[in-house]
């Protein structure tokens, strides 16, 4: 990250203070889960996005909702990266770390760059908090530890209390506002326009005027503290980014998935039916969809994931665009009913917002370890198409691709995201009406065979017709027992079974003719091809580009379609000497690629519940060059 020193005349604030222009900044707020870190992180993201920077975020919260205050287990963090150019990740190392207590300092300081800015709430460094953070003595007195950083010890609690004095708040209420103090200070440090945050506070606390005023005062006090105190001698300017022209807003991956589903249903002119059982990190899809019932969206919070999946199958039979979402443990429960959706050949989407496994695993952390579950996690020969989104905003487009496959091929489609892109946010260019791809849905209304309805007679794509209950004359039965070809009657005939198993597999394989060819970023032949999928896109793309700029023979193929693979993938692979597959698992895509293309692909595998750093990927590629 380069920086240049601006001429002091450009300064408008903070008389005599130096302003530096920088390209990219990584800020992380961390504190106790009761300190409101997610909130201020989101606000900082909003104002940066509205200002025109490219942004990428990484919220990181503890699994316990109310871990004991001040403990290491209770630390909550929010990292965001904002830049004057396209960025794909929330950044490897932190430029400015705001730490609200000793526990947060302890768990986060290692990620701060040497020479980075450390802002701490020194009021929180009392004996009890220091002990809870398992420090032996006050770390703020440890000069060796703090030596590499530009340290600002700010008495945030006291200053916040002073700022809100006279509003009649309790001490607790007053102390709750200190996150806005910290935010105000960061706004000064990075020259942010606080207006969107002020408006948010006004709307949020419209019914609590004293809380509203207190937060606004705390925000201003933080800002003014940076402006007037001597300890802050520099502040920073980041130009807006040159993103493709258009109108933008900020979206998280889960919001984008929900919006994409609503859009798909609207474009298909069909009702959207969503069934789910709450689970981290997928619940926000249910929350978002249930706020948009006026789009003819019906949401059903089922008694468990088995019921949610079953209800989706029922709604699909009844002609709606049916969707269910969950995460690993819930997807396991859905397995049997997914198989029913498969054999009854009904269109639906199963969203898996992957998290750390196995079992309950790391519920609030990210992982990509459910690819093989999506491929093979059902009894019998039960291939399902798999589509994976690459970034928060991409969930919008990718889930529509999934829906398109589902309705065109009459098949349940697995849609994979992960905790990282589901909770992460980025600027999303609002599509124009013309950019929305229509989705065509046909319901059978007439007999298709000599006056009778043949539910398993197929079209050229091998898709069967979709006749909806209520249609006169097309009464028919479906079910989980093997179907006779064409008629769909129950059949135990061995020849028919083998034929049908192969037919269903052929249908799914045929989707390769429907999806676009795989694109390669970089030359289409060379030394190293990096193949990735899902939420690792940002880190891998940035790493590959860095090496390309350094003149290395590296190309990158990021897969959106994982079953079937794009038709030209084998061809692409054959034109490179080495293949590297970075994944947040033990090598699941690599296994599929090796099996399918007999290629000696190597893996870069990380299973820490955290996304790749760009540097990790760069290093792994360099080793292969």
């Amino acid at each position: 990250m380069s920086s240049t020193v601006d001429v002091p005349e450009a300064e408008k604030q903070g008389e005599g203070k130096k302003k530096e222009t920088v390209e990219t900044v990584v800020v992380r707020f961390c504190g106790d889960s009761g300190d409101g870190m997610q909130l201020v992180g989101t606000q900082m993201t909003n104002v940066s996005a509205v200002y025109g920077n490219d942004v990428s975020t990484l919220p990181d919260f503890p699994a316990e909702i109310r871990a004991p205050a001040g403990t290491l287990a209770g630390v909550s963090g929010y990292q965001l990266c904002f830049s004057n150019h396209d960025i794909f990740t929330p950044g490897d190392a932190v430029d400015t770390l705001v730490s609200m207590n000793p526990a947060a300092l302890k768990t986060n300081v290692a990620d701060l760059k040497r020479g980075g800015t450390l802002i701490v709430n020194e009021d929180a460094f009392d004996k009890s908090n220091i002990a809870k953070a398992t420090y032996e003595s006050n770390p703020l007195d440890d000069e060796d530890m703090l030596q590499p950083y530009r340290v600002h010890k700010v008495p945030m609690t006291r200053l916040t209390r002073d700022a809100v004095e006279g509003l009649g708040l309790t001490v607790r209420e007053a102390d709750r506002c200190k996150n806005f103090f910290a935010l105000g200070l960061i706004y000064w440090l990075y020259e942010r326009d606080a207006t969107p945050t002020e408006e948010w506070v006004k709307a949020k606390f419209a019914n609590k005027p004293e809380i509203q005023e207190a937060n606004l005062r705390a925000l201003r006090a933080g800002y003014n503290f940076g402006f007037s105190t001597e300890s802050f001698t520099v502040h920073y300017h980041v130009e807006p980014a040159q993103l493709p022209p258009g109108k933008y807003r900020k979206l998280t991956g889960n919001e984008a998935t929900a919006l994409g589903l609503i859009t798909a249903a609207k474009l298909a002119d069909r009702g959207l039916f969503y069934a789910g059982y709450p689970i981290t990190p997928a619940s926000d899809i249910l929350h978002e969809l249930s706020a948009h019932k006026n789009f003819n969206v019906k949401t059903f919070q089922a008694e468990d994931e088995i019921a949610a999946m079953s209800a989706a199958v029922g709604a699909a039979y009844a002609g709606q665009l049916a969707v269910t979402a969950s995460s690993g443990p819930g997807i396991c429960l859905k397995g049997e009913a997914m198989g029913l959706g498969m054999i009854t050949e009904l269109p639906m989407i199963i969203v898996n917002v992957q998290r750390g496994g196995p079992s309950t695993g790391l519920p609030t952390k990210t992982e990509q370890a459910d690819l093989l579950l999506s491929m093979f996690g059902r009894n019998g020969e039960s291939p399902l198409p798999i589509v994976a989104a690459q970034s928060p905003g991409d969930c919008f487009h990718a889930v529509q691709d999934a829906m398109n496959i589902a309705v065109n091929f009459m098949v349940p489609v697995v849609f994979l995201t992960d905790g990282y892109i589901a909770n992460g946010a980025e600027p999303w260019r609002i599509p124009t009406q013309e950019e929305l791809k229509p989705i065509e849905v046909k319901h059978q209304t007439e007999p298709n065979g000599d006056g009778e309805y043949l539910p398993y007679k197929r079209d050229e794509k091998l898709a069967r017709p979709w006749a909806v209950p209520g249609t006169p004359g097309l009464e028919h039965r479906v079910g989980g027992i093997e179907k006779a070809d064409v008629t769909g009657h129950v059949s135990y005939d061995p020849e028919n079974h083998e034929y049908m198993v192969k037919l269903r597999a052929r249908k799914v394989a045929g989707i390769e003719n429907f999806i676009p060819d795989q694109k390669v970023d970089g030359p289409d032949s060379g030394d190293v091809l990096v193949i990735s999928w899902g939420g690792t896109y940002g880190a891998v793309r940035t790493a590959a580009r860095e090496l390309q700029s350094a003149g290395k023979s590296v190309s990158h193929a990021h897969l959106r379609f994982l079953n079937p693979f794009p038709k030209n993938l084998g061809d692409i692979i054959s034109r490179f000497k080495h293949v590297l597959v970075p994944e947040l698992n033990m090598g699941q895509l690599r296994m599929l690629l090796r099996d399918r293309y007999l290629v000696d692909a190597k893996g870069l595998n990380k299973i820490k519940g955290k996304p790749f750093l760009i540097s990790e990927v760069v290093e792994a590629i360099e080793k292969m060059l």
Binding site: R249, K293, I306, G314, P469, P472
Partner: protein, 338 residues
């Protein structure tokens, strides 16, 4: 509209599939009565959907020429809920067995009932797992010897009607496979109920549990062992010679109608009372201590789940206007890049 309906007969509801139940299985009779009831409802054939789980009983949808879904073990109530929410205009029937509904599918049954989804759930209770060839089920009596309990079952059975009542059912009834007239009338009542109608049918599995309900079907003894429920009427059985009275301990007791007890002193059935205690007490009357009640235990009105889910969609449209993508995309803070 009903005047334009073609007049349907039971034959119109028979599919072309060969029926594969064992000869003399109780399921045949239930199928036959269903085919009799449906044409009387004034509903076009395409408006029915039969959903089942897995079990002998669950093959039912294949034998009906309606829309149908033979699904997976235990999940029929959930699948049916999806269908009903998607297509509230369909009349949705769930066909299930004692294992299907109360063992593997207990959770879905309970939740469909408490939500009051407009489903007609018919539980074929043969007190055995028929399809898997004769293991004991959650309704088999303690001590039952089966393939999986050669020394007798040590499980305590549960009572389907108690489960339904405990789940706040709005309609609960019981009948017997071979009691043709009674079964027809109960199915008809279920069809007309708005909300979850739960019907337990005693069904003979003559291969693995033959005669489990002979106390209620055998012409020689059944009048002493069952009592027909009629709304507003006293509970009288044994050809009018016996009645049921509630004693001082608020428990039912059998009394002889030999003149010492007046009809007015007997328990009068009220299926419409909001409080389910009476229905619960009736459900707990079990042979051989008591005659087992047959008929409608409870039939009250409550808004249905499907109605309310769809109403919320309509309310949202009325309040915010029909969904507009442009508006949806532009919610919150937006900014322009030139």
């Amino acid at each position: 509209m009903s005047t334009d309906l073609p007049v349907l007969s039971p034959k119109d509801f028979a599919s072309d599939q060969e029926i594969r139940w064992c000869p003399r299985c109780g399921d045949y009779s239930i199928l036959a009565q269903m085919k009799k009831v449906l044409p009387t409802l004034g509903i076009p054939k395409e408006k029915f959907v039969f959903v089942s789980g897995i079990g002998c009983s669950s093959r039912f949808p294949y034998y009906m020429d309606t829309y149908g879904f033979h699904s997976i073990h235990g999940r029929a109530p959930a699948i049916a809920t999806g269908i009903k929410l998607a297509q509230p205009g369909q009349q949705v029937w769930v066909i299930t067995g004692d294992g299907d509904a109360l063992s593997i599918g207990g959770n879905h049954l309970m939740h469909a009932i408490r939500r009051n989804v407009d489903l007609k759930i018919i539980l074929f209770n043969n007190q055995i797992y028929g399809l898997t060839k004769g293991q004991y089920s959650p309704t088999s009596p303690t001590g039952k010897r089966t393939k999986s309990t050669p020394m007798g079952s040590v499980d305590h059975p549960l009572n389907p009607l108690s489960v339904a009542l405990g789940s706040e059912a709005t309609f609960v009834a019981r009948s017997v496979d071979v009691d043709i007239r009674h079964l027809t009338s109960v199915l008809e009542r279920a069809a007309h109920h708005k909300g979850t109608a739960f019907v337990e049918v005693y069904q003979d599995c003559n291969v693995f549990n033959s005669g489990a309900f002979s106390f209620a079907t055998d012409k020689k003894v059944k009048q002493d062992n069952i009592v027909y429920l009629e709304h507003g009427k006293p509970l009288i059985f044994a050809n009018g010679s016996k009645g049921i009275r509630v004693n001082e301990g608020s428990r039912p007791e059998i009394v002889d109608l030999d003149g010492s007890v007046q009809e007015d002193d007997l328990l009068f059935h009220d299926e419409k009372v909001a409080e389910p205690s009476l229905a619960f007490m009736l459900a707990r009357m079990r042979y051989p201590e008591f005659p087992e009640p047959m008929g409608v235990f409870r039939a009250i009105e409550k808004p249905t789940y499907d109605e309310e889910v769809n109403q919320q969609v309509e309310d949202a449209i009325a309040e915010k206007g029909e969904g507009d993508l442009e508006k949806l995309f532009n919610r919150g803070d937006t900014w322009e890049v030139k």
